[in-house]
Symmetry: C2
Amino acid sequence: MTDGRIRQADGFEALETPCLLLDSDRLKANIAGMRAHLDRLGVSLRPHLKTAKSLDVARIAMVGTSGPATVSTLREAEYFAEGGVRDLIYAVGIAPQKLDRVGAIRRRWGTDLAIVLDSVEQAEAVAGWSRRAGDTLPVLIEVDADGHRSGVDPRDADRLVAIGRVLAAGATLRGVLLHAGDSYGLSDPAALKAAAEAERQAALAAAAILREAGLPCPVVSVGSTPTARYADNLDGITEVRAGVFMIGDLFQAGIGSCTIDDIALSVLTTVIGHQRDKGWIITDAGWMALSRDRGTARQAVDQGYGVACDGAGQPYPDLIVRDANQEHGILALRRGSTATLPDLPVGARLRILPNHACATGAQHDRYHVITGQTLTGAVWPRINGW
Amino acid sequence: MTDGRIRQADGFEALETPCLLLDSDRLKANIAGMRAHLDRLGVSLRPHLKTAKSLDVARIAMVGTSGPATVSTLREAEYFAEGGVRDLIYAVGIAPQKLDRVGAIRRRWGTDLAIVLDSVEQAEAVAGWSRRAGDTLPVLIEVDADGHRSGVDPRDADRLVAIGRVLAAGATLRGVLLHAGDSYGLSDPAALKAAAEAERQAALAAAAILREAGLPCPVVSVGSTPTARYADNLDGITEVRAGVFMIGDLFQAGIGSCTIDDIALSVLTTVIGHQRDKGWIITDAGWMALSRDRGTARQAVDQGYGVACDGAGQPYPDLIVRDANQEHGILALRRGSTATLPDLPVGARLRILPNHACATGAQHDRYHVITGQTLTGAVWPRINGW
């Protein structure tokens, strides 16, 4: 290995590949940047832990060791409650079968775990459960910011008030929660600002309906990484939930929520072969290590299964993971590129920037922590499953 | 829940969702069918364990508890060796850094773990390692059946013989290995038969080159689920590797390698909401539970993120997972369908057939074993990682 750039990966030689590298300097900078931005807007951050799924990351992202934070599964809620987090929202619509487990988390760790719903039938199940269990569950009504998936239409005052009244009679109505998921399909800054403002307006409209009906609405919670990044007015909002901003990925870079240089996560991989007549470099990071996520296929720049970088995290010009099998990555230059394929012999190490940090992270059970191109020796476990 | 079909899922009510269901009756039938087919062709089966990643499944798929079998990671090799498997091929091109771990597996469990390579540089690394370690590693030369990914062109006699000579001077040259991965893009039976025959011819050509050069080639190993299923002549082949056939999935059904009714794997999920004006049913099985695999998007019938079935595994007419977020599945009728959306209230359970068993399985750490629509109570662990 005579190429200076390849030598830069030698610091990672002790690691088995494929594995996850997490740059803690970039992670901390991303978190500090979002916190400063939200501080300026006078709103607090309730980080979403679904991307990192790591207590070590959570402790950097949260304002204190006890939260607040957001989770996407009850498995995460248990893991973070066990780790000392005392203020959580499980931000996926509740199924009645999950209420006993919610109650168990609240009792066992004393964690204020709130749930989310968007129908009268769920509210009745929750109110009934609360009365039977003697635990008035805190509930946020999910409001639909943009037609993305779940939530009550913020113009549907009847349904909002009906849900609110059922909750107020048995559980604790804590407020409203929105997620402007359609912002993931945008990339124009003006459109992203408009999406953030639309999310805020929908939240305020729903909160006003509840308050005018005499119902409580102390919490007005919004969030998505793109709208959090582009919001310039969050008056009336009490908290922002976002997760992927901590780590960043190629998809967020395609939106403009971060730059390539902000991405804190990469997959370390080893060259295992070549098809030189085709210009292919074969590595041991296939879709099992990178995930099947091809989110950038819908963006202006399709990054394949990821961007190939040297050990320092510097992208090789136009070198992407053009295709992937389960345990094989096929690296090649972008179609039409005039760049030269780097000379990466069998055994050379390189790093792949992921399309989607949530999906790539989930293929692994730990982060090897780096700063720049130095392995710190720290290994941060991460969890999966439900 | 008044609909008889919905009631059929009640047997699974004790399970937390989302989770994996594995129908052991279908699994056993799929394995018996493949074994009978290969018996008729006079060739043995070396099941690929990368799909199931479960010792319980392996013991059904293998002819005996000690193998033979195929793995896609050294983590699998360790897990199955620990579980008593003594004859394994690690069927991904070897990196020199992995040889110490290969040697450790061979020593610790006495497992005959063979490796795969396709270059002189790898062969030199392996021969050198073998001489230093005093362990003549068994090696198969990977041969390219169809331009799919790795392997030596079977017409490249110089390279085949050069690799063979380096190996024969230090390691153990055991034979050739091919994988006709391009067969995954086919669906016409005649084309699939032709792909199987082309894979066989490439294998025989490479074996003949080695033998004519005075090199040994006792093993001639081919395999992919589609070519294994459609082969009608395997003369000269000593073993077939295949994995996904055991479980089946929508992608294999699209090829014609199995039928929908053969699919042994499904994801149990719970309804968590509706957007009734859009015809959406929201469930708790998003892409985290189903995987991001959208393989059927390239086939004649796009199955979205999966086909929705009742508790008995019977598909609801035209109901698929049209979109998915991390922990939300969005079910809707296929575009243009005239079917009626089933009435599935919040809390109803249903089962999702996966696009790709290898990818969906990897999102989970266990199988809940069922027979038909009955939960057996057995839980089979499965592994992930490297």
